[in-house]
């Protein structure tokens, strides 16, 4: 909403500087987004009188206008068709800052030779002054405009651009904003007095209103004016509309718009003669009914849309836009003026169906009060009689099925302090509320105030709303600064599943960044293609949830895997990064079907489908060189065993030990993927990414992937750690080299060695294949540490254990000691 300071000044004395006033309004909830000064660039523009207009000797369309500026007369070239002797006009001297009428860009006026005539200055159009888009005509000022005076003094204004919150439809009007200023600055509010002459004939002789849907149209008021003359509005009115960003059209439309801006009540003028039998019927549109609206569009209607109809057809979409057929034109001589109220939800739905909004619908969508329409109707009737002549029929039509009593709220005086912490005495409360138009009655003890809510504040519904009114007018800056003093709730156990889960996520983030992984956060919404591309056969394991109204196809489905975001990010960064990249994300995936639980939390009565399962996952990717290029290191590439090592270390830090078995995850390279097993349960996978997936995501080179289900991991963390005494007796270290068949996995060797109680540590430190051993065999070099918690080991004891160990390795795995 734009509001002119000059206009506001009609209703309230404004003594604060504009910036200060804006600050007060903003603090009180009515945010001033911008302050625009009309005329702050007009320092070289003055008011002049056109004293002569002569043809340009060299151009048919141009004229030479002589302008009297009081102290001098200047002749300039002018192309406007409307220039005439006797007019008061804005005259720009050389150097004036104007807007180029053709390009719309700011410019500084320079002397020019136009078709051989030197022109030092210019008579300005509204566009050149930045008032409106009108460039055709020069701006003609009222005859009383003082010659020689700076235009800024006469026409300048300050425009507040206000961001009005949905609860303040009253501030979509100049009067509403003025009332706010009056309350904030303790100034009285002056409202216009409304009075006009009526003729003998009652309006009921000419027109009738029937409301078929009283729930959707609680009130419909109308007046009738005959014998009017359509003409452009006077200058002052056009200026005011322009200042609020509305385009002047003619005196009738301008008057209705003016009153809408003034009071916040949308009005509509019908050409009475185009309404069949002068009948107004407020009803739902019929199926298949159409209407051509004022914007020139033919629109299909449906029964959810409310229309104003005459006996035959719809003549307006109620509260949204009038119809072309009943539009006021140059020939109109009688108008029926509508001032009504419509159901907010119906207007909102209608705007949605029609994809149409108007200044009127924006206001109706904020739930205007049923008491509002009558006063603005009379104000507009008065204004129309002044502007367009004519005679008003006697009385108004006022069909009012939705009348209700004013709302009463009981406000305990203590409530202001209880909620706001600001000590306010009852007199101050009463003063603020009364200034805002609330009627107040206190009880004898002064402990309660019975407050009657004025009709323009329909969003005030409870005592907390009144507390806000009091505190915001007193000023939020007066609220003291205190700290919470209420008792702390009992602290949740760190061992609760919820605490552990968020704790686990933090821990993992720290571990992974420590291992050189950069954390990323990617969108929850992805494209279907990206999810499909995770499978070499482009198949979806889980059908993802779809968004009904996606912004883009790139963000249409809820991710069922973190892989797509991670791999896309990897591909993007490979374009810029030459060294190896390690990325991870910890976040939710969305699986459409939650495991069945009884929906106890949901309040609705009907049976609900459960919300999707939102599951925390960890996904990491690594590719490229192990370390960045340096003089210390060879260009070693990250490989499968980096991935294994990272997982082993993550789990180790959490106090867990993983085992690995071959995986058939289809996103991984066949035979080069591993399942991560903890306590016999699969908690994730790792491995080399399938080449087709690599290709689909346009990745450069081999990529390794790690994925861990955090819920499953969490279930493994339930055991508390148990302290082990630090060994007191020395250990014995032995290295062995075992020759074994290629197909025997290392884990089986390790399991046998591990099964001997004296063994405390096993390290595989070399794998050899080659000339020195038979084909189809490999050699494991293993370091074994023996230690006893109870005594110092004797060599013989270790020898004996190792012999038994080798015997078992030979028997069960065919392993021999390498000679």
């Amino acid at each position: 909403m734009k509001a002119s300071l000059k206009w506001l000044g009609d209703y309230v004395d404004i003594k604060l500087a504009p910036r200060e006033l804006a600050e007060r309004l903003t603090m009180a909830g009515l945010e001033v987004k911008a302050i625009q000064t009309m005329g702050d660039t007009w320092d070289k523009v003055v008011i002049g009188e056109v004293v002569a207009v002569n043809p340009h000797p060299n151009a048919d369309r141009l004229k030479l206008a002589t302008v009297n500026l009081g102290t001098e007369q200047i002749t300039v070239v002018c192309g406007a068709p409307n220039i005439g002797v006797g007019q008061r006009v804005p005259f720009a001297h050389v150097g004036a800052r104007l807007i180029n009428g053709y390009t719309g860009e700011a410019m500084s006026l320079k002397p020019a030779k136009i078709r051989g005539i030197v022109s030092a200055g210019m008579v300005c159009s509204e566009k050149e002054l930045g008032i409106s888009d009108n460039h055709e005509d020069i701006l003609v000022l009222p005859p009383e405009a003082p010659i020689g005076v700076a235009l800024a003094t006469y026409l300048g204004d300050i425009i507040f651009d206000l961001d009005v919150t949905p609860n303040r439809p009253d501030c979509l009007s100049v009067v509403g904003i003025a009332r706010e200023i009056a309350a904030l600055t303790s100034e009285p509010l002056r409202l216009p007095t409304i009075h006009y002459e009526e003729v003998e004939d009652s309006i009921n002789l000419f027109a009738s209103v029937s409301i078929v849907e009283p729930d959707l149209c609680p009130r419909y008021c109308a007046s009738l004016i005959t014998g009017i003359k359509i003409a452009p509005s006077p200058n002052w009115l056009q200026q005011r509309l322009n200042s609020c960003g509305m385009r002047p059209i003619n005196n009738v439309v301008d008057a209705t718009n003016y009153v809408m801006l003034e009071y916040g009540q949308p009005l509509h003028a019908f050409d009475y003669r185009k309404l069949k039998s002068g009948q107004i019927i407020v009803r739902r549109a019929k199926n298949g009914e159409t209407i051509a609206t004022l914007d020139g569009t033919e629109r299909a209607l449906n029964p959810d849309i409310l229309v104003i109809a005459d006996k035959e057809k719809a003549v307006a979409v109620a509260g949204i836009m009038g119809g072309v057929d009943s539009e006021v034109t140059d020939k109109t001589d009688t108008i029926l003026l509508e001032s009504a109220n419509f159901d907010q939800a119906t207007i909102r739905r209608g705007c949605g169906y029609l994809q149409l909004q108007s200044e009127a619908s924006v206001r109706f969508d904020k739930e205007l009060n049923n008491e509002l329409p009558l006063l603005p109707l009379k104000r507009a009737t008065q204004l129309l009689l002044e502007l367009a002549g004519g005679r008003a029929a006697k009385g108004v039509i006022d069909v009012y099925p939705g009348k209700s009593a004013p709302k009463l709220i009981s406000l305990p005086t203590q409530e202001v302090e209880r909620l706001s912490g600001v000590k306010v005495n009852i007199d101050e409360i009463l003063k603020v509320l009364k200034a805002l138009g609330f009627e107040c009655q206190e009880n004898n003890s002064g402990s309660q105030i019975l407050v009657s809510v004025p009709y323009w504040r329909s969003y005030i519904k409870c005592s907390a709303d009144l507390v806000e009114e009091v505190v915001r007018i007193i000023g939020y800056e007066k609220i003291p600064i205190t700290r919470l003093s209420s008792p702390l709730p009992p602290q949740k156990s760190k061992l609760s599943p919820v605490a552990q889960q968020s704790n686990l996520k933090d821990k993992l983030r720290n571990i992974l960044t420590g291992f050189g992984f950069q954390e990323i956060l990617t969108y929850s919404l992805v494209s279907l293609e990206k999810l499909q591309k995770l499978s070499p056969r482009l198949e979806l394991k889980v059908q993802p949830l779809k968004v009904a109204n996606p912004m883009t196809r790139e963000q249409e489905y809820l991710r069922t895997s973190l892989r797509s975001g991670l791999l896309s990010t990897l591909a993007h960064n490979q374009k810029f990064e030459s060294a190896g990249i390690r990325l991870f994300e910890i976040g939710k995936v969305f699986l459409p079907h939650n495991p069945p639980v009884i929906a106890t939390e949901a309040k609705q009565s009907q049976v609900e489908r459960e919300l999707p399962q939102e599951k925390d996952m960890l996904c990491a990717a690594l590719s490229g060189t192990r370390l960045e290029l340096s003089w210390h290191t060879d260009k070693e590439m990250l490989d499968f065993f980096d991935a294994i090592g990272i997982v082993e270390n993550i789990l180790n830090q959490l106090g867990l030990k993983a085992s690995f078995e071959n995986s058939d995850d289809e996103g991984l390279f066949p035979r080069k993927g591993a399942n991560i097993i903890v306590d016999n349960d699969l908690i994730g996978i790792l491995g080399e990414l399938h080449p087709k997936v690599v290709q689909a995501f346009e990745l450069l080179g081999v990529t390794y992937l790690i994925e861990i289900d955090l819920e499953k991991l969490l279930t493994k963390l339930t055991g508390t750690k148990q302290y082990q005494p630090i060994p007191r007796f020395p250990s014995v270290t032995r290295d062995i080299a075992l020759v074994i068949d290629e197909q025997v996995h290392y884990r089986r060797v390790e399991e046998i060695i591990q099964s001997f109680p004296l063994v405390t540590r096993i390290t595989l430190f070399d794998i050899y294949r080659g000339e020195q051993i038979a084909e189809g065999k490999k050699s494991f070099a293993i370091r074994i540490v023996y230690q006893s918690p109870s005594h110092t080991l004797a060599d013989e004891e270790v020898d004996q254990t190792q012999e038994q160990m080798l015997a078992r390795l030979r028997k069960e795995l065919g392993a021999t000691l390498r000679g």
């Binding site: 903003t26 603090m27 009180a28 909830g29 945010e31 987004k33 911008a34 609860n167 907010q344 939800a345 739905r349 302090e417 209880r418 909620l419 706001s420 600001v422 907390a464 806000e468 505190v471 915001r472 939020y476 800056e477 609220i479 600064i481 205190t482 700290r483 919470l484 702390l488 960044t513 050189g516 992984f517 950069q518 954390e519 956060l521 990617t522 969108y523 929850s524 919404l525 949830l545 968004v547 009904a548 109204n549 996606p550 912004m551 809820l558 993007h572 960064n573 190896g580 990249i581 991870f584 939390e601 309040k603 489908r609 919300l611 999707p612 192990r626 340096s630 003089w631 210390h632 290191t633």
Partner: protein
């Protein structure tokens, strides 16, 4: 035998004089004091000597051993000192050579800021909980005083989940506020929680708008909680995150689920309050909406609004690093370009 010992001693000392580096010294030690040295051999063979020679030779050999050991120690000290005081430039390490690289990782800037924010509130006794991203219309809107067709729905352009006919509408939460209701349904006062999480909007993206962003919701409910407590809590928070020099504005604003309502803005870092593109020429940047929990909402979750009161706030997380680091495009956060992420 005694003579042999004396020669051995003299020879060892002569050799020691010539030594000028620690490697040669180690070789000398092995040669003269090691397991296979003559001196060791003599000491080991004492038992084979005639009984009357044993004490003399034994004493002599042990004395020589001790003497050599202390000479060795002395030489070691000398060499060490020489190394420390050597004027030789060639011995100097080129300390300007780059170090050995380590793979380095960082937390996403949003995570870093979330951790900071949560820490501040944890210190004030708030507990951290999380909630679902996919919500019912009930929790996201209706229970928060935003019924269908309420004009305030314009403030929350919504991404809806595709739903079969007859199913209840689900959506991607447009704010973290649904957790206020879930929390108050579960717990009784005193309540003091914060809820970090993702929120989503049906919104064309530009430098200041994202379709996905993070919020931190806060909620405190008990007897006697006031707007002044909210102001104190949020001022403390702003001071912790932006420093005590930064201006903070606490003004009236409207959100259907709080009454009285509040907006908190902090002085723009781009222009120091004089107005620039970053703050839309207002000098202020809004960072959170807040207010006293609406009495209708307390009543809805069976908390008596005449006895209890509470405050709630919703903070836009990305605003914080944008202000602090002068990031002028919110889209940088979730496009995850390493050249961006590695700056934090």
């Amino acid at each position: 035998m005694l003579e042999q010992l004396r020669d051995l001693h003299t020879q060892a000392l002569d050799e020691l004089d010539e030594i000028d580096n620690s490697r040669a010294l180690e070789l000398w030690r092995v040669r003269h004091l090691g397991k296979k040295s003559t001196l060791t051999k003599i000491l080991r063979s004492l038992a084979t000597l005639p009984l009357e020679e044993r004490p003399r030779i034994g004493t002599q050999a042990n004395e020589i051993k001790k003497a050599l050991e202390s000479s060795l120690e002395e030489k070691e000290k000398l060499l060490q000192e020489a190394l420390l005081t050597s004027p030789l430039k060639s011995l100097r390490l080129d300390v300007t050579l780059p170090g050995r690289p380590l793979p380095t990782g960082r937390l996403h800037p949003t995570t870093q800021i979330l951790n900071e924010i949560c820490d501040v509130f944890k210190n004030m006794g708030f507990q951290v909980i999380e909630g679902p991203d996919v919500e019912w219309d009930y929790y996201n809107f209706k229970s928060l005083n935003i019924p269908q067709h309420h004009p305030a729905r314009d403030m929350f352009a919504t991404l809806w989940i595709d739903t079969d006919a007859g199913e209840t509408a689900r959506l991607l939460r447009t704010h973290t506020s649904p957790m206020q209701i879930r929390m108050m349904e579960r717990e009784r006062p005193p309540i003091r929680v914060i809820v970090p999480g993702r929120a989503y909007r049906y919104e064309a993206t530009d430098a200041t708008h994202e379709s996905m962003f993070y919020q931190v919701e806060g909620l405190a409910v008990d007897k006697g909680i006031t707007l002044a407590d909210l102001k104190g809590t949020l001022f403390d928070f702003c001071r912790c995150l932006f420093g005590k020099e930064r201006k903070v504005r606490f003004r009236c604003d409207y959100f259907p689920f709080v009454e009285p309502g509040v907006e908190v803005a902090i002085g723009c870092s781009g222009c120091d309050g004089t107005g620039c593109r970053l703050c839309g020429y207002s000098g202020w940047i809004e960072i959170l909406g807040a207010g006293m929990v609406h009495p209708d909402i307390l009543a809805r979750v069976d908390i008596d609004p005449e006895l209890y009161s509470g405050f709630a706030f919703g903070l836009g997380v990305e605003r914080v690093p944008m202000l602090r680091y002068g990031i002028d495009d919110i889209r940088l956060f979730y496009s995850n370009d390493l050249r961006f992420l590695r700056q934090f």
